[in-house]
Amino acid sequence: MIKGNFIDNLPKVYGIYTGGFLGFIIIMSIAEQMGMTAKTIGICFVAFTVAIYAIIGYLSRTAQADAYYVAGRQVPTVFNGMATAADWMSGASFVAMAGGIYFKGYGYMALLVGWTGGYVLVASLLAPYLRKFGCYTVPDFIGTRYGGNLSRFMAVVVLTVASFTYVTAQINATGTIASVALDIPFQYAVYVGLISILLCSMLGGMRGVTWTQVAQYIVLIIAYLLPVFWISNKMGAGFFPHFMLADEVSRIAELEAQFGFVKNSAENLKEVPKGLAGITKAHSAVNATPWAFISLALAMMMGTASLPHVMMRYFTTPSVKAARKSVGWSLFFIFLLYSSAPMLATLSKLSLIDPSLPTGIIGKSIAEVQSIDWYQNWNQANLMFVSDFNGNGTLELNEFFMGGKAVVLATPEIAGLPYVISGLVAAGGMAAAMSTADGLILAIANAISHDVYYKIIDPKAETAKRLVVARVLLVVIGFAGATIAALEIQGILGSVIWAFDFAMSGLFFPLVLGVWWKRANKEGAIAGMFLGLVSGAAYLVWVRTGGSGFLGITQLTFGIFGSAVSLVAMVVVSLMTQAPNAATQKMVDEVRVPAGKSILGKQH
């Protein structure tokens, strides 16, 4: 069926794959009509997709360092874009983003702007230059540009702190979805999730992760867009929601004015299960100060440009030119999902609060709402709750509570879509969480195996031995992440945002100035990474333990403080110490032009 080189056949391979997946959805919906239970459909969706990823992971197995670390540097721009989009969009983006927009409105939208705007920095400041460098990992760039084991090691430390914070949240999300879809307890589901994750990356390293991430992107984007379009059409809101929901947005504003945002007493709120929230913020009005919005967006943008698992995706393109274009494609594929999240939030909110719609529950009697099937299901799942605080027997806006995840998970059911869609959404969430977890675990394991083990401890190690070390680390880090995830310490989104702040505190300026400021030297970079990370972390601890903070910098934006310290430290220390030697200056010159050989050889 398929002849010749795999890379040349990519469109065909993934075309067949996409067709096969759509066929699978149709078969499942026929099975549902014939009486297959909701539970079996959920299991089929998750098991089928995970099995496919495992097969791709197996077929991508390799024994070469070049393929293991950078997928042989032959991933075409568009496919690298899809892989990056899957790498980037986490379980949190998939499951929690629409919910965040639903509850917090404008203040939360700063994340959308930040998580996309950061790619402009990636494309213009970093990705093409790091690609020219020819490094395997981000610390590889720091270590070679600045020289010395200490700078390399500091970069590994920052990378590990940021990525590990992020990865526990992803393994947690994989476990949550596996536990719901497969109906097993969370403590076990976490390890089922972890094994699925390792199946993708163990044998093929970056090569395996690349081709599974493309497959995961296709699943997650279908799983996100199909329900949004379907719901919009079913509600009669417009066949292309992105361009047609203006009336719905203004209707929500009208209803908000009509109901008003009544504040609940603390005593009443005690009744509400933990993690659920009511609608207390305007949907489309500006409800945050300019600085609150801008500081959050800025922190996320600089964090995006410093997160190693994203940066290393651009090491896999065939050329510098391709790396630049690939950033554009990445953002395009991310845009498809991000621009749909606010539409889903709008449709979800309107369908619940508009009394003139058949699905609307505000204004109905409490007893009637409590007898609705989907309300009972989601109430049992601890994602929905109503209570008659004022005792008038009717449901008011301030008496209705929902979990953030419910916007993505429950809206299809509320709108009356068949259960097959819920199974599809579970598979999409699983794909999103798995792909990000794979990228992160690989980033950490590669940095430790390549930069600490090979470059610092044993530079004479054979390729075979290096790859064994890399794989052992992959498993160890995965299990460490899963063990912490099983403890269920933080919510999914809190720790995701911290990862951005840690990354920008320690890495943003050492990376950017490494390319754009020739005078930056080893001492400066070490000071920048060390003081940036330490001051950022200290600020976080201070604010978390009751500190007041300053300049409106919160625990979500502490990276602004950390990176400012990092910049000052790096510039001051660099200027106080000797300029980098002529060889290093020449190296920077060479990085700045795309032509010619990369700085580091093909096998290093």
Binding site: T116, G117, L121, T317, K321, G328, S339, P594, A595
Partner: protein
Amino acid sequence: MSKQEQHWEKSKGLLMMTLAIWFVFSIGIFLFGAEMNEVTGPFGYPLTYWFTCQGSLGIFVILIFWFANRQEKIDEEFGFSERGDD
């Protein structure tokens, strides 16, 4: 000035322009978020709301492709582009 220096000057110019556009749509306009939201934007959405849902995001996508093309032209002009195609 050597060819390489000229190339770098032009690249820096392009970077500044790219960052200026990036700044306007990621930070600049949100200084006036409340005022701008009074205006009706594309497809009938309130303007600031539209920028946060689609506008800024879409502009970033276009901006990156525009930047990549301009940088390629600069590289070609000075003969620094890579041989072979992607």
